[in-house]
Symmetry: D2
Subunit: 380 residues, 4 copies
C-alpha cells in the first residue's frame, strides 16, 4: 500500500466531480441514485470509520455527526440516514464535504507514512476498491441527474465509448470442465470465491457488443410490442412504463437522439447500445434467436474477445459460489446480502476505474435497472 | 405604482434568501414544497411574461427556456415543468437566477420610469401581491427543508412569534345581518368579492390564540387518541401518520422541543401553537367543548382582537362569494380553480409580508396541511 | 312506531336483493362499495346492538361474532372489521345472514308488540332511516358490482328514470332573508338543524335537470379537454383517470351506450344525465356560463320545480349549521364527523326509499365520487 | 391416454371444491390468489380451446364469452381478463361453471372414445398436468381465502402433514460430475430439459425438514430482528410488513396458534414448518450456520431422504438449462417467460396431486411469497 496509490484514487473522485456546481450535489431524484455529495462523503467516512478511528492514535473525527449522515447500508455500524432521505440533506455544504475529504486524506497520509499491518492494509484496500465502485456510480448518478432536467448539462470529465466496428464473429468454445472464480493473491471480492469447477456444454459467443444500429432494427421491428420476446415481468415493465427505447433516448422530429455526458446528440450507429435493462437484453437476444451467455461462459471465453466498454448482462442470477464465505463484521455486509433477485454483469465499462475490473469480477443489478452502463453480447 | 415600492418588495425576496447556500435552493422534499430557487425565478417570470413581454418595446427575454422552467400552474401560458419535477432542476444555478432577477428588475425600473396605463398597473400590482405570497411560502418551504434534515440549519432573517399572554376573554357579537367582503378601491383578490350580506347568530370569540401550554394539555389528555374528537378523515390522518404533536415538535428525553427558523429549542409555553392542521384545530376545539369560528364570524369580529401572528383556521370551506367572477385570461386561474376541498384561514401571520393582509383576506389550505404558519382561535 | 312500518321497511331491503346470487353478495370491488351481504347484516346489527341488546329482556344475540363482523364506523362500539376487509368475508353465507334478518325481525316484532318509550322509539326510527339509506347504497353498490364485470347482469327490481322533457325555464327568486333547516316534529337528521336565517341575493334556477343529450354536447365540445372549465383538482382527476364521459358510459362503434340496472343499452337523450362527479357538474355549469346552486338556494326554491330523480350537486360544502349539536353516544358518530371535504347534494333520487327524503335533507359525497345517482341542475 | 385417467383427474378438481359455498368462489383477496371458480373454469377452458375447438368436428363452445373470461396468461390466444380483475366476476355462477365442466367432460369423453394422434395426446397430457397444478393452487388459494377472514372456515378435503420425527442426520454426497434433468420418455415440463452435466463439490444434506419447534427456537432467539441473518431485500420485507412468524401463525395468549385447512389450532411441534418465504428459509439456515441446498444438490441426493411433504426452497434461481427450448405457440408461454427473479423449489407437497411430481420437477416462486406449501431442508 503506497501513499501515492491511495491519494491517486482519492483524487480521481474529486476530479470526476470538479465540474459540478453546489446546486448539483444534494439531489436524489430517484431511490437508486445517491447525491454526488453523499458519494464524496461516504467514501471518506469509510476510512474514518474503519481505519482512522480504529487504528490511528488520538484520531479526532472531523465532525461527530458525519458518521450518522454518511453511513449507508452498514447496519452493523449504528444508525444511518435512510437511503431515500439522502436527498434531503442540503447541509453539510459541498465545501464542508471537500474539507472533510482533505482532512481525512491528510490523516491517512500521515497514517500511511508509518508501517501498517497486513490486516489494516486489507481494510484500506477494501476502502479503495469501494471508492472506485462509487466513482463508477458517480458517473451513473450524475448522468441521471443531468439527463432528467430540461437543460441537459454536461460533465467536464472525459469518458467515451468507441465504435464496435469489427465484423461480427462467433467464438466457439468446447464442452468441458472449467475452473471458475478468482485465482491468486491479488485483491478480489468475496463473491469471486471459492474457485470451483463448472461443466459447460459447447457454446459460441460474439466477438463484439450489439450496436446502436442493430438495436434500432429491433425497435423498428416492433420488438417492444411483441410479448413473445419478453419475460412476463419484462413485459409488465414495458407496459407499465411505456418503454420504447433505451434510457436517455428521445425521438426528436423522427430521429433518435440521446443524452450523453457530452451533451444531447444524434445516436451514432456503431457505438454499442447502452443503458439497457436485463429484460431488454433478453428480449433482443430472443428476437435474434440467440441468447445471453451465462457468467461462466463469459468468464471462460473472455480472453478471446475485447471487453470493457459496457457491463454485459449475463443470463446468470447473482448467487454464491460453492464455499462462499462472507467476511466478518460490518465489511461482511458488502456482497452476500444482495444475492437474490439480481443478475450478473461482467466485463467492466468505460466508467469503471482503471485497474478495478478483471475477468472474474461479478457486477450485479436488478433486472429492471438501466441507469448503469450496460450492453448486450450475444451467445448461442 | 412607484419604482420604489416595486424594488422594495422585490428586494425583500432576496433578503429572505440571503442566508441560503446554493446547495439549499434546488430541493423539493415533498410535493407541496417548492425549491427556493424556483420561488426566486417564478416570481420574476411573472413580470417578464405578463408585463415586459407584453408591454415593453423590444424587450428580449433573459433566457428563452426560463418561461418553460418557471411557469407554475398557469395552464393558459403553455407548457410548464410539472410541480413534482421542480425539485429535479439543479440548473440554472442560483447565480443565474439572481442575475435573472437583476435583469428583470432593471428592465422593470426602466419601464416604470415612463407613464403606464391603469390596466398595466393592475397587472404589476398583482405581480407584487403574488410575490408577497411567495415570500410567505419561502418561509414555509425553507423551514420545511431545514427542519427535515439532521443538522437543523437556521435562517438569518428575523421573524418571531410573541407571547399570547393576555388573559382569555370571549368577545360577544350580536345576531344580525352583516356585510362581508372587500369594500373600497384598494387592491384585493377576486375571492374577496362580491361584498354581500350574511346573517349571523349570536356568537362569542376568544381574544387570543391557543398557546403551546394549552395545546400540551390536549396532548397530555390523550386528545390524539380519542376518535370522538376528530373528523373521520382527521382520525385516519392521525392513524396513518402516527401523529402525536404539531409539525416540528419532537419529544427529547421526555421534554417537548421544536424546530424553529432560529434553531432547535425548548417549546415556550405562552407562544401560540403553530403548524396545526385543520383536523387538529377542530379536534382541539371539540375537546374544549367549543368550536372554530366561521370566516364570517371572524371577519365581523376581527376589529375586537389582535391578530396577525398566525393564520387562523376557520370552519368555513373555501367557496365563491355571491357574484364571484374570476378574472379574464391567465390571471383568472389564480383563485377560483382552488374552490373545492380547502378550508379558509384568516388574519395573516408573522411570515406574511408587510401591508399584504387585511381583515377580508381569504387564505386557504387543505385540511391536512400544516407546514404553513397556522394556529387556533376558539369560538362558541 | 307500528310493527307494520318496521316490517315493510325491513322487507324492502330483502326485496332489493332478491335477484342476487350467493356469488354476488360477498364482493367489495372498490373501497367505497360494500358487499350486499354486509348491508343486509349491518342494518340488522343496528337493531340488535342498539335496541334488542339494550332494551329487550333476556335477548340472546343471534351469533356472538356478528357484532364484530358487521359493525361499520361506530368506533364507540368496539372492534370492527376494517372497511377494506369487508370484501374478504365469504362467510357467514347469504343464507345465514337472511336467517339473522329473520331472527331479528321476529324479536323486534315481539318487542314492538309491547309499549315502548319515546326514547327507544327514536332509536328504532334512526335504525329505519339508517336502513333506508343502506337501501339506496345497495342500488349503488349492486350497480357498481354488476357494471364492472363483462357479463353485465341485471337487477330484477324496478327503479327507472323518467324523461326531463319539459322546456327549460329559469325560476327567479328574490333577494332576502330566508329560513333554512328542518322545522316541525317529524324525523330529521341532526345535520338539518338548527334552523337558521340565511341571506340570499337574487338568483335563478332551472326547472329541470341537465339531460343526456345536453351533456353529450359538452363532451363533443371537448369539455373534458379544456382545463379552464375545471377545478385544479378536477382537472387532475380527469387527467389521472382518463375520464371522457360519466361512469358506466362506453363508446361502442361510435355510439354512446351505458350500463343500467336493466342492462347495457343505448343512451336515451331526454333522461337526466346520471353518475356525475361534483367536478363534472361544476365544469358543465362553467361551460354553460352558469353555476350550480348553493344548498340554500336549492332549499328555498325547491317548491317551484320537480325533483327526486337524481341527487343534485350543490356548490355548498357539507358543514354544520349554527347551533349544530351532534347526538350523544355512538349514534352521534352519524353525521358530524363527515363535515369536511364533502359537497352537499339535495333532492333525492329514484333509488331513494319512499318517504325518506324531504327538501331540507342534506346528502353529501366527496367531489370525485359518482357511483351514486347524481345529476346537475343549473343556476345563475 | 385413457378416458378413465382423464375423468379421474378432472373429478379430483371438483372434489377439492365440494365443500365450498357459492359465496366462497368469486373472491380474489390478493393479486396472486385466483378465485376458486376461476380455477374450475380456466382448467376447463384449456381443453375447450386447445383440444375440442381445434380437433373435434362440429364442436360448439359452451359459451362464446367464456374464453375471454377464463383465459389466463396466454397472450397468444386473444384478449383476457386482467389477473387483478378476476375477482370482480360474480357471474357466471358456480352452477354455470360446473355445467361448463360437465359439458366439456362429456365432449372430451366422446372425443377420447375415438383414436387420437400422439400430437393431440400430448396436448391433452399438458392439459391434465396443468389441471393438477391448479389443483395444488386451489389448496393454496382456498386456504388464503379462508385463513384471512374472521370465521376461519375449514375445507372438507383431507390433506395433512405428518411429523418429521426421525432423528436428524446429514447425508454426505461426494464431489463429482452429475447428470441433471429429466431422462426417459415420460411426461416432463420443458424446464426439466435438456439433461446436462453439473459438477458438484462435496456436500451434506439433512434427512428431514425443519420442524415447527426448531423454527420456534429461531423466533425466540429473535431471528426476525437480526438483520445479519437476512438478505437486504428480505430484511426490508420483514420491516415493511412487521413479520414475526410464518404465514397463518398468530400468537394467542402467549401461545403460537395457526390456521390450517382443518381449522385454527395449536401448533404441533414435530410437523415441518410450512408457509415460509425464501427469505425466511435463508435466514433460518444462516442462523443455524448452514445453508439451503442448490437444486442440483437436491436432485442428486433426493433418493437418500424422504420428501413430498412440502416444497423445499433451494438456493437456485429459476433459469433455463443448457439447450432449453420453449414449446411452440401458446403452450410455449408456459415456463420460459417466468425465468427471472424466482427461486426453485423441489420435492412436492401434500397438496401436490398424485403422480404429478418427480425428482427432476422444478417448481418456482418469488422469494417473498409464502401462501404456497413451502418448508426448509438444510445443507452444509
Amino acid at each position: 500500500m503506497t501513499k501515492t496509490r491511495f491519494l491517486e484514487i482519492r483524487h480521481r473522485t474529486e476530479e470526476i466531480c470538479k465540474s459540478l456546481k453546489p446546486e448539483d450535489v444534494s439531489l436524489q431524484p430517484v431511490e437508486f441514485v445517491s447525491p454526488p455529495k453523499w458519494h464524496l462523503a461516504h467514501t471518506t467516512w469509510f476510512f474514518e470509520q474503519f481505519v482512522l478511528s480504529e487504528y490511528k492514535k488520538n484520531y479526532e473525527v472531523f465532525h461527530e455527526k458525519f458518521a450518522y449522515y454518511f453511513n449507508s447500508y452498514y447496519n452493523n455500524v449504528g444508525d444511518k440516514v435512510l437511503r431515500t432521505n439522502r436527498g434531503l440533506m442540503t447541509r453539510p455544504t459541498l465545501k464542508q464535504v471537500l474539507d472533510y475529504r482533505n482532512y481525512v486524506n491528510e490523516q491517512m497520509s500521515e497514517f500511511l507514512s508509518a508501517d501498517i499491518s497486513t490486516e489494516i492494509e486489507n481494510v484500506i484496500e477494501i476502502g479503495l476498491q469501494h471508492e472506485q465502485q462509487h466513482q463508477e456510480l458517480l458517473f451513473y448518478d450524475i448522468k441521471y441527474i443531468f439527463g432528467h432536467q430540461p437543460s441537459f448539462p454536461t460533465l467536464d470529465y472525459n469518458i467515451t465509448l468507441k465504435p464496435e466496428n469489427q465484423s461480427q464473429e462467433f467464438i466457439k468454445i468446447d464442452e468441458g470442465l472449467y475452473d471458475i472464480g478468482h485465482k491468486g493473491e491479488d485483491f478480489c471480492w468475496d463473491n469471486e470465491l471459492g474457485r470451483h469447477k463448472v461443466y459447460l456444454n459447447d457454446f459460441e459467443i460474439s466477438n463484439r457488443l450489439v450496436t446502436n444500429s442493430e438495436y434500432m432494427e429491433f425497435i423498428e421491428a416492433e420488438g417492444y410490442k411483441d410479448f413473445n420476446l419478453w419475460h412476463a415481468e419484462g413485459w409488465d415493465w414495458v407496459q407499465n412504463h411505456n418503454i420504447e427505447a433505451p434510457m436517455y433516448w428521445h425521438k426528436v422530429n423522427g430521429k433518435w437522439m440521446h443524452y450523453t455526458l457530452q451533451g444531447f446528440k444524434a445516436i451514432e450507429d456503431e457505438l454499442p447500445v447502452n443503458h439497457i435493462t436485463f429484460y431488454e437484453a433478453f428480449a433482443y437476444a430472443q428476437w435474434k434467436q440467440m441468447r445471453l451467455p451465462t457468467e461462466f461462459e463469459w468468464e471462460v471465453s473472455s480472453e478471446h474477445f475485447k471487453h470493457g466498454q459496457l457491463w454485459e448482462w449475463t443470463n446468470s442470477a447473482y448467487l454464491p459460489y460453492p464455499n462462499y464465505a462472507k467476511a466478518d463484521g460490518a465489511l461482511g455486509e458488502y456482497n452476500g446480502k444482495f444475492m437474490v433477485n439480481q443478475m450478473v454483469l461482467r466485463g467492466g465499462s468505460v466508467a469503471t476505474s482503471p485497474q478495478h475490473c478483471r475477468p472474474t469480477y461479478r457486477n450485479f443489478f436488478h433486472a429492471e435497472l438501466r441507469w448503469q452502463f450496460s450492453g448486450i453480447r450475444l451467445a448461442k
